[in-house]
């Protein structure tokens, strides 16, 4: 009985109804007033919407410059189909491989009695600190007849390139997005569900298939979305591995020929693909209840005893760590050996540059993601959902197009902002916003809305109520968001190239610039600093979270 009553209440407070304006004009003006009063929610949301839509408008403007016939000839040809097929195949492949890595790792760290789970968890996140182009260079350098593996260990591994190379490189550093989401989902599962299924005669494996996996779907979709969009937009790995995808073709258009129009068309095609992915994800999410129905925290699930299988668990975790973290570190360390000396001054300046842009960007992204996620969770309506989705378009817009659009619009609207750190920070924050939204949204779903109402009834304004009652419960989500955006901003190249202030130096720029000329010994100190500093930062954040 009480459950039914609760349900009624929940429905009343979050159903689609409040979106309907009440009859009469008084209602409509009230809605507007209400939105104005909640400027701290709608203001940032509007800022994001405008910031993310600017690049799209820009792309449409550029594409519209072309002669329709020319455009048609460019777009309607067999190559477009080939690019589409390659892109889809790579995305699906990376999703599959990343899941194959992330799911067992998540299960091992969330549900078993494996020792050193915290360490394994940390190691499962660290690959995010490895830039994609470094991962690609590393794989290229280690494999093949003259690769490091052949020279050092005598292993004749064929040289990785094309589909396999891109697949492996991308999977190895994007799987943490899935790992983090799946792990959280596994930790949050109500053990009573599994126990009742076992009591109803289901075997362990059947429980996994019929009870656990369906419940992991929201987590899988959230992580998979980030991985998928990342693959769609990546150009570093596909260009080094020579695999023809949309983003590679786009990269080629911008960097090798001077054709911004065809590039704009390709970018729009890429965005259309993104829209399809987002639509698909929304469809798959529909009808999934994301709330736990009971009150309070659920019991902890007793860990599965691995017994003799424990060594297999360690072997798996070890192999993944070795490939995703060890290999890049060892290879870069190996290059480092050949460096005559370490350019401390340049290193320091590049590190300062990277951090001075990435850290504020991470905080800003978090600050923008919070109102967006809040609107979407607590003011659930088609409008707020659309606003939240828009952030994902920012993520999927090719960074180069994103940067060019900001160049174009900044100089035409706020010229003093051009080539300032502020613009760079805003660009990072808008571009990586999607990474920040997920963890905050998950945390918001777990913070009961009732708490804020209690605070309101005790005399706090909506904003005060949020700060006092809900914000403290979002700590973990906020920290993860900050970490994710920070890591991505540290690695980002095209946006940094085009929007950084003059004289600005960043680790990523240095790494790329040396590595591009094959001066790996020169790149090594910067790459190492980038990875180690990012890893240390993330480690620190996650340790805090664990306390």
């Amino acid at each position: 009985m009480p459950d039914v009553e609760l349900q009624e209440h929940v429905d009343a407070s979050r159903g689609p109804q409040p979106a309907e304006p009440p009859p009469g004009s008084a209602g409509r003006s009230w809605r507007l007033r209400e939105k104005l009063r909640e400027w701290y929610l709608w203001g940032p949301a509007l800022f994001v919407a405008v910031g993310v839509l600017i690049p799209m408008v820009y792309l449409v403007l550029r594409a519209a410059e072309a002669e329709p016939a020319y455009l048609a000839a460019l777009v309607v040809r067999s190559r477009t189909l080939e690019l589409l097929w390659n892109t889809v195949a790579l995305t699906a492949g990376v999703l599959a491989v990343a899941t194959a890595i992330a799911f067992p790792l998540a299960w091992l760290t969330a549900r078993t009695d494996l020792r050193g789970k915290r360490l394994v968890t940390l190691l499962g996140v660290l690959p995010l600190a490895v830039p994609g182009y470094v991962m690609a260079y590393v794989l290229l350098a280690t494999t093949g007849a003259n690769g490091t593996l052949a020279q050092v260990a005598g292993l004749g591994v064929p040289r990785l390139n094309g589909f396999t190379g891109a697949l492996l490189a991308l999977s190895l550093y994007t799987f943490p997005y899935l790992f983090l989401n799946l792990r959280t989902a596994l930790l949050d599962l109500d053990p009573a569900l599994e126990e009742s299924a076992r009591a109803l005669g289901y075997s362990r494996l059947q429980v996994l298939r019929h009870v656990v996996l369906p419940q992991l779907r929201p987590g899988f979709l959230a992580g998979g979305l980030l991985v998928g969009l990342h693959v769609l937009g990546d150009f570093g790995v596909v260009s080094l591995m020579r695999f023809d995808t949309f983003s590679y073709a786009l990269y080629v258009q911008y960097t090798a020929s001077y054709d911004r129009i065809y590039a704009a068309c390709l970018a729009l095609m890429l965005l259309a693909l993104t829209a399809a992915v987002l639509f698909l994800e929304a469809r798959l999410l529909r009808g999934l209840s994301l709330h736990r129905t009971g009150s309070g925290a659920s019991r902890l699930t007793p860990p599965v005893r691995l017994g003799a299988w424990r060594s297999v668990g360690y072997l798996f975790a070890g192999t993944v760590t070795l490939a995703a973290v060890g290999l890049p570190l060892l290879t870069v360390g190996y290059w480092m050996q050949e460096a005559a000396s370490i350019p401390w001054a340049a290193l320091g300046e590049a590190l300062r540059g990277s951090v001075s842009a990435s850290a504020p960007a991470a905080l800003l992204a978090c600050g923008l993601a919070l109102p967006l996620a809040y609107l979407s969770v607590r003011r659930s309506s088609p409008t707020t959902h659309a606003l939240e989705r828009i952030a994902y378009f920012g993520y999927a817009t090719p960074p180069l197009a994103f940067a060019l659009a900001l160049v174009f619009f900044t100089l035409r609207t706020v010229p003093p902002l051009y080539q300032t750190l502020t613009l760079l920070i805003i660009a990072y924050a808008l571009h990586f916003l999607a990474e920040a939204i997920g963890p905050i949204r998950t945390a918001l779903y777990q913070a009961p809305p009732r708490l804020e109402e209690a605070a309101r009834s005790l005399g706090r304004s909506p904003l005060q109520a949020f700060v006092a009652a809900t914000l403290p419960l979002l700590r973990k989500g906020l920290l993860v968001s900050i970490a994710l955006v920070f890591l991505s901003a540290m690695k980002e190249l095209p946006i940094t190239f085009l929007l950084s202030p003059l004289g600005f130096d960043a680790l990523a720029l240095k790494v790329w610039s040396y590595a591009n000329e094959a001066l790996f010994a020169g790149a090594a100190p910067f790459a190492l600093a980038l990875m180690v500093f990012s890893a240390a930062f993330v480690g620190l954040l996650l340790l805090r979270e664990d306390r």
Partner: protein, 365 residues
């Protein structure tokens, strides 16, 4: 006695197409009174509470607290400025704050000393002194509940709203907590509105009860009034098990399947009567040769009383008697009304003669 809270014509719809969830709701709560909104789930009682608290905005009607319009066509006072305390079904304690911090949460604007004093007083009222440093998850359900009440009492609200506050407690704890909290509220003279679907809770806790259905109030009255004098079939059934008699009324009396009974008020023609099981007793059939006879189907001994199920003309009736009544299943008995039967208002008379026992469950479904 004057009204502290008046609600007039309150209307709320969640979609412009569907029927209103709250339909011209009107009632008044007196100063110092504990008022209950009782109804099955979906009847709109929780929405009414949220309207009073200010979490929802009414489409029409007024809410006036102590002469101040909180809600009207052009007014909507936000929750934090309504001066109402609110106790949730799931308590909604802040998990990251200690018991003391929870209780002082609504006491901003007071000095630290005042905060301490008021919190201590509130905690003493609910019997939780000494628990200040604990965090909510270190408390039992009953204790959490008391903290929630202390928290909403601490700022001395003009009105306390309670949303199913006892439904998460187990049966024994529920009864004790209920009477203790009622004692505190009455002692402090705190005007309260309770929302519940549990008729026993409403009847035992409230000074007056409003029975709600489909967003409207069917009947308001003291617990005795609504229980003994239900105005409608719905109220009669929702407040407990009752025997329904389809009868022909002739003024102060009526012919029923149980024979002739006195009526609570004058009526003529076909009417539906309600006769609570405890308002009937049994006697040996031989003692009443002129009344219709029934046979005992089941006898349920419950210690302080006995419930008999009897059957007459294919219908079943319930009779609560004292514990010395020793009829056994199969015995022929006569049913003797102890009180006049209540004439139920009915917009349309039941199509088929409807007689026999029904219960709250039947009404709710």
């Amino acid at each position: 006695m004057d009204a502290l809270l008046t609600v007039t014509g309150l209307t709320k719809r969640f979609s412009s197409a569907g029927p209103p969830v709250i339909d011209r709701l009107t009632f008044a709560v007196q100063r110092g009174e504990i008022f209950a909104l009782l109804g099955p789930s979906g009847c709109g009682k929780t929405t009414s509470l949220r309207l009073m608290a200010g979490f929802e905005r009414a489409d029409d009607g007024h809410i006036v607290l102590d002469g101040r319009v909180l809600s009207g066509p052009h007014t909507h006072v936000p929750p934090e400025r309504r001066g109402m305390g609110l106790v949730f079904q799931d308590y909604a304690l802040f998990p990251h704050l200690s018991v003391l911090d929870n209780v002082t949460f609504g006491l901003r604007g007071h000095t630290k000393n005042e905060q301490r004093e008021k919190a201590a007083r509130a905690l003493r009222l609910v019997g939780l002194q000494g628990f200040e440093a604990r965090t909510p998850h270190e408390l039992s359900g009953g204790q959490q509940q008391r903290v929630a009440i202390a928290r909403s009492l601490a700022p001395s609200p003009r009105l306390l709203l309670l949303d199913e506050p006892f439904s998460n407690l187990d049966a024994l704890l529920r009864q004790n907590t209920r009477s203790e909290i009622r004692g505190v509220l009455k002692q402090e003279g705190i005007t309260s509105v309770l929302v519940t679907h549990d008729q026993e809770e409403a009847l035992s806790f409230a000074d007056r009860v409003a029975v709600m259905r489909h967003g409207q109030i069917e009947q308001v009255g003291t617990p005795e009034e609504v229980y003994y004098q239900p105005r409608t079939l719905f109220v009669a059934q929702f407040l407990g098990r009752t025997n329904l008699l389809f009868s022909q009324a002739q003024g102060t009396e009526a012919d029923t399947p149980l024979g002739r009974v006195h009526l609570s008020r004058d009526a003529r023609g076909p009417v539906l009567l309600s006769l609570r099981p405890e308002h009937v007793t049994l006697d040996a059939a031989e003692a009443y040769p002129d009344r219709p006879h029934a046979s005992v189907i089941a006898r349920e001994f419950k210690g302080h009383d006995i419930t008999f199920r009897v059957e007459m003309d294919g219908s079943e009736y319930l009779v609560h008697t004292h514990n010395r009544m020793d009829f056994q299943p199969g015995d022929r008995v006569a049913l003797c009304p102890l009180e006049p039967a209540v004439v139920l208002e009915s917009q349309q008379p039941p199509a088929a003669p409807l007689s026999g026992v029904t219960s709250a469950e039947a009404a709710a479904s």
